[in-house]
């Protein structure tokens, strides 16, 4: 038997989680359909799959949205209940080696041959077959009934999903590789966006995604003088953003003024007070805005401060959102999603994690038995001076 944090499809509990999660982020773990259970270890779908025993497994923003019943219904056809959460995983293989999980369940993993055009082009995160093949529908491990997930003592993985961890890389660093791969992917998108390799960038949010994206961008940029403005709500986030290379960190309410001043923009607003405080629409702005939050407020803010013809990259997972897209139309702004990574991003992520010492972003770990505390801590991480929270499975007893 194994132990796992399993999310079941229980509509009433999911509704309760949604209510509780709105009242206090992370409370969905208390009243929702997430439960710690003794489970049978998942069976490998084909003989080539291997067992992975998680050592550390991170709690991601998308996990929190799922636990709190906030995840978009878009995901319904590309997840398969019940599933064990956890896709940021470093674990042990049967041969004693450690590996980091690349959780995307793309064509090769699903036994689909020939692969879809996206996978054939190396863009496995764009896989067009994520609900097909010999696996149940799921965009990633951690959302799939058959694979298990990182919040457990045991899961299965396709060899194509595993990246060996060098001996010199600690578990604490390795567990940051998957989110950093997202960040590398985002940073590459920045460099191919309107900002290019040197233009000013505004980065909204200084949680794990924001900080790792900043680190990745600085890593890829090398020695350029690119200005990067970062919004951070909390003091520890501000400190880390500065340490990782932010030109300037501001609170969210200061961003519009900071961008206005940096870009010598004018402001248009219907009243003098709002305009004077840069509370209206900037006439100019930064070439690229990276939204690592994905909320209605952050997206609206991104559209206010991006330059005409600029790019807004949505890195944080959004949901159903009401947004006035008039400025997007009028200013010919592009709004582009930024999801996951390629295999090459993963390779670079290892370099970034080591070069920028991103293991320092792992603030606290919990055993599975304290999952409610862990999830609450993760949901309140910024306010509590934390960044990444993870489950530590290294001391768990395998039965």
């Amino acid at each position: 038997m194994s132990r796992a944090l399993v999310l079941s499809r229980k509509p009433a509990k999911l509704a309760a989680a949604a209510v509780a999660g709105r009242l206090a982020p992370g409370r969905g773990a208390t009243v929702g359909p997430l439960s710690l259970r003794d489970v049978d270890p998942p069976e490998p779908p084909t003989p080539e799959w291997v067992r992975l025993r998680p050592r550390l497994a991170g709690i991601c923003g998308s996990d929190l949205a799922t636990v709190d019943g906030r995840a978009s219904r878009y995901f319904e056809p590309i997840t398969s209940f019940p599933f064990t959460l956890g896709h940021e995983v470093v674990g042990d293989l049967d041969d004693g080696d450690r590996a980091v999980l690349v959780p995307v369940l793309h064509c090769a993993v699903r036994g689909i041959d020939p692969p879809c055009p996206s996978c054939a082009a190396g863009r496995t995160h764009h896989c067009e077959r994520i609900a097909f093949g010999h696996l149940d529908p799921a965009l990633q491990s951690g959302f799939c009934r058959q694979t298990g997930g990182g919040w457990s003592l045991e899961m299965v993985a396709h060899p194509d999903q595993l990246v060996p961890v060098p001996d010199e890389v600690t578990d604490e660093a390795a567990v940051l590789v998957e989110p950093t791969a997202c960040a590398v992917h985002a940073a590459r998108a920045v460099r191919s966006s309107a900002a290019g390799s040197e233009g000013t960038v505004a980065l909204i949010g200084a949680g794990t995604l924001g900080l790792t994206t900043l680190a990745a961008l600085r890593h890829l940029d090398g020695d350029t003088d690119r200005e990067v403005l970062v919004t951070a709500k909390h003091p520890e986030q501000r400190r880390l953003a500065a340490a990782l290379g932010a030109t300037r960190t501001v609170t969210p309410s200061e961003l519009a003024r900071a961008v206005r001043a940096t870009t010598a923009s004018l402001v248009v607003a219907s009243d003098e007070t709002t305009a004077s405080a840069a509370g209206g629409q900037l006439t100019g702005g930064v070439a690229t805005v990276v939204d690592c939050v994905g909320s209605e407020a952050s997206l609206a803010q991104a559209l206010r401060v991006v330059a005409p013809g600029g790019d807004v990259l949505v890195v944080g997972m959004p949901g159903t959102t009401t947004l006035d897209l008039t400025p997007l139309w009028h200013r010919e702004t592009s709004l582009r999603g930024c999801y996951a990574y390629t295999r090459d991003d993963f390779t670079t992520a290892f370099e970034v994690v080591i070069a920028a010492d991103l293991a320092r972003l792992l603030s606290a770990t919990y055993p599975l038995s304290r999952h409610r505390e862990a999830i609450t801590h993760a949901a309140e991480a910024g306010a509590r001076g934390a960044v990444k929270i993870a489950f530590d499975l290294r001391g768990e007893k395998h039965r």
């Binding site: 300037r248 004018l266 004077s276 405080a277």
Partner: protein
Amino acid sequence: MPRPGLVLDVDRSTPPMLFHHGESFRLEKLPAGRSRVVYPAEPLDALDDVDGAIADALDHPLDSDPLSARLFAGMRLVIAFDDVSLPLPKMRRPDIRQRVIEAVLDRAAAAGVDDVRLIAALALHRRMTTDELRHAVGDRVYDAFAPDGRIYNHDAEDPDGLAFLGTTPQGEEVEINKAAAESDLLVYVNINLVSMDGGHKSTATGLASYRSIRHHHNPATMEQSRSFMDRHSSELHHSNWRMGKVIRDAGVNVFQIETTLNNDTFGEKGPLSVLQKREWEWSARDRMAFLGMQAGLKRMGPNTRRRAFQSWEAPYGVTSVTAGAVDPVHERTLDHCFAQHLVAVEGQTDVLTMGLPYICPYNVDSIMNPILVMCLGLGYFFNMYRGRPLVREGGVLIMSHPTPWDFHPVHHPSYIDFFEEVLADTTDPKLIAERYETRYAEDEWYRHLYRTSNAYHGVHPFYMWYWGAHALAHLGSVIIVGGDVKAVRRLGFRPASTLQDALEMATDTVGPQPTVTHLHNPPIVMAEVT
């Protein structure tokens, strides 16, 4: 006979001292046996016949022909006047500017002068509103000149409205208002509330552009102005005097009119009169009035309280009117200022305390934001000395003010950015100037707001910070009592909840049992420190 200012040694029988605290007050006990209080003089006797004094000054000017003799038909006459930053609080009607301007206009009319412009000499301050202009010059003058645009605010960013007059031997560029520069006579009407005002600074700063003002409003100049209330020891004034010579040599004819006001800030009778009395002389009625005022203020919301204070109009008396050539006029004006403000003080102190009131030159009908708190305390009040600073080098300044993290969005847009961006980086005036000044000064948005709205110029918060450069270099530490903790820390100062805590904290810097001096200001007092 008004009593002069005095220095009171505090003993155990000394009552608690009044500290202004923004839009409220505090009563604080000072340590007995090692504290003293510098009190302002009572209001000097006002002129009985102000209009007569104005006429006398215009008709018998110093080193000049009478004004009437310098007026002629067909000439271009510009009358410039001090802006809304003077006096503080504003003066009850009729404002002395109105009375002087009316007298000048009467003489101009008699001489057949019909090309007359009135210009508010606001330098890089915000534009005056219609109501403020009306208050300054009076309804009659405003209604005569406003319809065809002959009364207006100086615009230091108008490329077509400035004239470059040359440079001083030190390379300081002199660029002033074109209408004033090209006039046949520039009459400048001052209110010299303190000794810093007036002289060549009136035209060389009040009617100048950023290109010109930057030469003396910078950290190096401010740090070498010791103090800028003593013009002969002030690099700020030396620079303005050099510029004044360039202006004169360029052929600009200035007829300077300077006026002084007495210390009747809160009235000898009325709701605020207790603020003008010495605490040990407070009657039972005064105490009741003070307690009632405090209770009333506590019940008010912040906006109501601000409106109540800002609506106060002081019953100042006019103590002098002097006209003629700039230098002799200003020297006589300084005598009048010092007669009202100077108090002899023996020796410096370890700790200087002060209560900052609700108003400074840059928050009329506005919010006293943290940068202005710094400027009022470390700029204006600290510099209220002649000779040596009241507090010794390495000493501690304790100021009382709520210091809210709050800004008037229309008046102070660049202040918000300065506070959020610049002070988050450094509080060193020199570094601030090097890293940030040009960008703020040349920012098109700030320029637009300065020219079309009621915003201070983009560079203005820098000047407020430079204003405190001398104090920052001189002091060991600064403590603010009762201020917003985050705002105080952003200023680079230390927050304290009570004066007693602040005095205890001060011992970290100046050692145990420090001497304490309280500057009982306002009404205005200036220390002559020997």
